[in-house]
Amino acid sequence: MPVPIRAARPMRWDGERRREILMPRTASSRRVGRVVLNSAAAFTLAYILTPLAFVTWLAFFRQEIPAFPPEGYSLRWFRAIADNDRFVSGFVLSLELAVIATSIGLCLGVPAALCLARVRFSGREALSSLLLLPLVVPGIVLGIALYVFHVEVELATGLPVLGSLAGLIAGHVLIVIPWTVRLVMASLVGLDRSVEEAAQSLGANRFATFRRVTLPAIRPGVVAAALFGFVSSFGNLEMSLFIVGPGRTTLPIAILQYLEWKIDPTIAAVSVLQIALIATAMLITDRFVKISQVV
């Protein structure tokens, strides 16, 4: 039996070490530095987590009008979600939409990333930036632009584009692509071309080389891309507002519409479910690939 050897991990380049190298310090000033760093980290973390904690807390309040301190706790708001058709159908639609858009986004983004990382052609940099654009343009602007585009296409061709499911999916693909291209390109940077050539010299054609060698090597990037694409599609509100058709309500839109009439903890309960779903997705992915290594 060969003795298993622990895989060599890349050396952690943590703050402590970096500071050590950049400016050696005395013990006391090092302690002060550590305290400052830790409190800054704690503050940032608290800043991010406080709203989430409050929402979660609120979801279990018994009374209808949120007020502190709570009168008691109950699960009635979670039951209320199940009774509300809009939330249930919105959840199903958002889930379907995110899964389909992510799949299409991967099918388009992975080859695009391969091409951008490998093939030298003029305008490569420009194209690379262009594919990241949907991430930079504000959602509202993207939504309006798509709306106008759909109107124009419908006028020009007579096809029922406006408010169609296909239009909605296409819009979501647009916000998935920047993630897939970016993350897959990042994972390709570390891949040695000669590994692929080795596979070819051993008898693997282009497809077999991609499937057996390239894909396993960029898998962390692909998985992370799928996760981030899914999350940004699932939670998208601004763009979707403009391109959903009548009767087709995604979960974020259902939440917004509900908020126009009522503020009771149902919304908090929906949010808790949404947070739980995304957290679960992250935890599952993290079991397969260390997301922190890619992003």
């Binding site: 060969p2 590994v195 070819q200 010299s201 090597a217």
Partner: protein
């Protein structure tokens, strides 16, 4: 294994000639080394043979089969890369099995042949490890086993030893050479390291600027270099510019009269091997050339000592002296004679360029 013919291959990238009209016939079981400085076209030649670069002109035949237009995966050439290029996500055994799996060999047979290949490189106990759990030398041997497991027609080695440390490199040279002889592998290796080339090859091909400068055995290249470039690249030489005044008499630019074995006259370059020159305190009657000189620089290398001796205002020669431990080595400023036989100098007639 098979015979490899490279027939008048030219590879151009735009206006740049990476390889010019290269013809090479490599016999079944022969070990040929392509030697040259970086950018000389040796790696491009190997890539043409492997199928990663298509020649602009010419043909490549492997075992009589024209493979010029075949993609790499249809060539049956085993390739070992400088970086080893092992598949990081597969175990050693799966790495070695890859070529067999691609050829749809029966699973039961693969097992046996992987074990054979690993035994060949003495790594049979490490089949379940991942590449990153191995040392550089072990990874190199896995790469070799992987390239041999599917019984290729030719083995191609692209600077396979340059990532190993100096001591290990010397061991692996011998190991690869012995394996190659035992299995009768037709092998082409690319290297810029002349020592590596001299130790391993049956035949060497010295390349420069995309073209072959000389093909021959170690002795051919060392004793009878075809041109000034080869004389400088294989082994060391001191070059003295001048002209042949009359058959057998070389006049250096610094005015020295030197006896040589060359009948043609005209501008010429004289190349002197540092170990073919004798250092003496008095002129040596047995030598054709005896020149007085002053030691200007001494470099102590252990087994040998290099003496840089000024023999004229324009000329200085390097003399390699065996270190025999006695204190007879003159120091800097010492007045001595350098002597060599007429046939010890190699003359290249023609203007002084490469």
């Amino acid at each position: 294994m098979a015979r490899l013919e490279i027939d008048r291959v030219t590879k151009r990238y735009g206006d740049v000639h990476a390889v010019r009209d290269l013809t090479l016939d490599i016999a079944d079981g022969e070990f040929v080394v392509l030697l040259g400085p970086s950018g000389c076209g040796k790696t491009t030649t190997l890539r043409v043979v492997a199928g990663f670069a298509e020649p602009t002109l010419g043909a490549v035949r492997l075992g009589g089969r024209d493979v010029t237009r075949l993609p790499p995966w249809k060539r049956n050439a085993g390739l070992v890369f400088q970086s080893y290029a092992l598949f990081p996500h597969l175990t050693v055994a799966r790495n070695v099995a890859f070529g067999l799996e691609m050829r749809k060999v029966e699973a039961s047979e693969i097992k046996g042949r992987v074990a054979d290949a690993l035994r060949l490189v003495r790594l049979e106990h490490l089949g379940e490890r991942l590449p990153r759990q191995l040392s550089g030398g072990q990874q190199q041997r896995v790469a070799l086993a992987r390239a041999l497991a599917f019984r290729p027609d030719v083995l191609l080695l692209d600077e396979p030893l340059s990532n190993l440390d100096a001591k290990l490199r010397q061991e692996v040279r011998v190991e690869i050479r012995e394996l190659q002889k035992r299995l009768g592998l037709t092998t082409v290796m690319v290297t810029h390291d002349q020592e590596e080339a001299l130790t391993m090859a049956d035949r060497l091909v010295v390349m420069h600027d995309g073209a072959v400068r000389q093909v021959g055995t170690q002795a051919d290249l060392y004793e009878r270099p075809g041109d000034r470039f080869v004389a400088g690249f294989v082994g060391r030489s001191t070059f003295i510019e001048g002209e042949i005044e009359a058959p057998g008499r070389f006049r250096s630019a610094g005015g020295l009269a030197i006896a040589c074995k060359e009948a043609a006259t005209g501008p010429a370059t004289l190349a002197l091997r540092p170990e073919r020159i004798v250092l003496a305190s008095d002129p040596q009657g047995s030598m054709d050339n005896n020149l007085a000189g002053v030691v200007e620089f001494v470099s102590y290398l252990g087994a040998t000592i290099d003496m840089h001796v000024r023999i004229s205002p324009k000329e200085r020669v390097i003399v390699q002296v065996a270190n025999q431990g006695s204190g007879r080595i003159p120091g800097v400023g010492g007045r001595i004679y350098v002597a060599w036989a007429a046939e010890g100098g190699i003359v290249f007639v023609g203007s002084g360029s490469d």
